[in-house]
């Protein structure tokens, strides 16, 4: 499970929680790290914060979709994680290729359900 989050506290906590739920977390603080992890490790799911610096979450989703075309075995479910709940942001995320959109705070039970889906 790939976590892409620039906030250290949030990234660390999500990693520990994903481990506690029995999955193997991969952590990335930016889009470049996320793309490298995705190509190498081919995660089942990527939890991506939309407010990433430089290359934002929507742009990263587009890049990951492109990477899925030319990387054999890479077929990752993309989940947007954000504090923004307005309709425009949700639409942008959908257009960028996210499969799901989750508004922070995500409750641990909801995260576990998401990972198991």
């Amino acid at each position: 499970m790939l976590i892409v989050e620039d906030d250290d506290d949030s990234r660390e906590m999500l990693g520990e929680l994903i481990s506690a739920f029995g999955h193997r977390p991969l952590a990335a603080a930016n889009a470049a790290e996320a793309l490298a992890h995705a190509r190498d490790q081919k995660p089942d799911l990527a939890l991506i914060d939309l407010g990433l610096p430089v290359v934002d979450g929507c742009e990263l989703a587009r890049l990951l979709r492109l990477a899925m075309v030319d990387t054999p075995g890479l077929n990752t479910r993309l989940v947007a994680l954000t504090g923004y709940s307005d309709g425009a942001m949700r639409e942008s995320a959908g257009a960028a290729g996210f499969d799901a959109y989750v508004v922070k705070p995500i409750m641990p039970e909801a995260l576990e359900a998401l990972l198991s889906a």
Binding site: D9, A20, T82, G83, S85, D86, K104, P105, I106, P108
Partner: protein, 248 residues
Amino acid sequence: MNTMTVQAPDPLPELPTLLARLDRLRNADRRAASARMVSVIGHLIGTPLNVIAGRAALMRTGSPTPEAVDENSRRIEEQVERLSQRIRRLIDYFGLVEPTAEQRPLADVLGDCLALYRPVADEAGVTLRVNVSEVGALRVDAALVPLALTTLLSLAIRTAGRGNTVTLTGIERGPKTVLLELSAPGLAPPPGRLDRLEPPEAGVRYDAGALETLWLCLGLAKRSGGSFDVVAEASGTGATIRLECGHG
């Protein structure tokens, strides 16, 4: 380059129609600004809340060691402090607007407001009654009070319904405060204390624009050194809007 000429309709709509349109725009603008602000606040507090929820879950998942419990507790405290700082900054930011120093007699302020809204009331079939003779000479904030009054008059008239009466009464409340009471016979009282009110549950709609209007006036009243409340009429229909503001 393509150009387009836009002409004002000829003849121009009557003043009440223009004011009603302006009112709709003001409400739509407030609603859009509120939605944007709420979204930003959600973004600012979402990450710390996420960490708190996650750390709390880690403490009750499996059999955490005492060290893990200590560490998670410490992280939760850090995030609570981070959250508090962000909320304090937001409050400081929105508190930057100060009332103007300029003051005008209440009677003049009211005269201007009534000149605008009496035609609107006439067209809506609503009678406007004003009883402020005792407090007309008191000087009030020349910017905040007209803004609050026009906003409230508009709301009271819009919700009153044809054949009803909207009454504005002014009462001096001590050496520094004047109370303006506005009867709004068609306004449902808000579903709770305004300063404690949370947005309605999804699917439950309070009068469109009314909640934003009342919140705006609560803020204006506080900035002018007063208070604001809406109380249900004893008869069970309608409400009385009570705006207290400071006077010089």
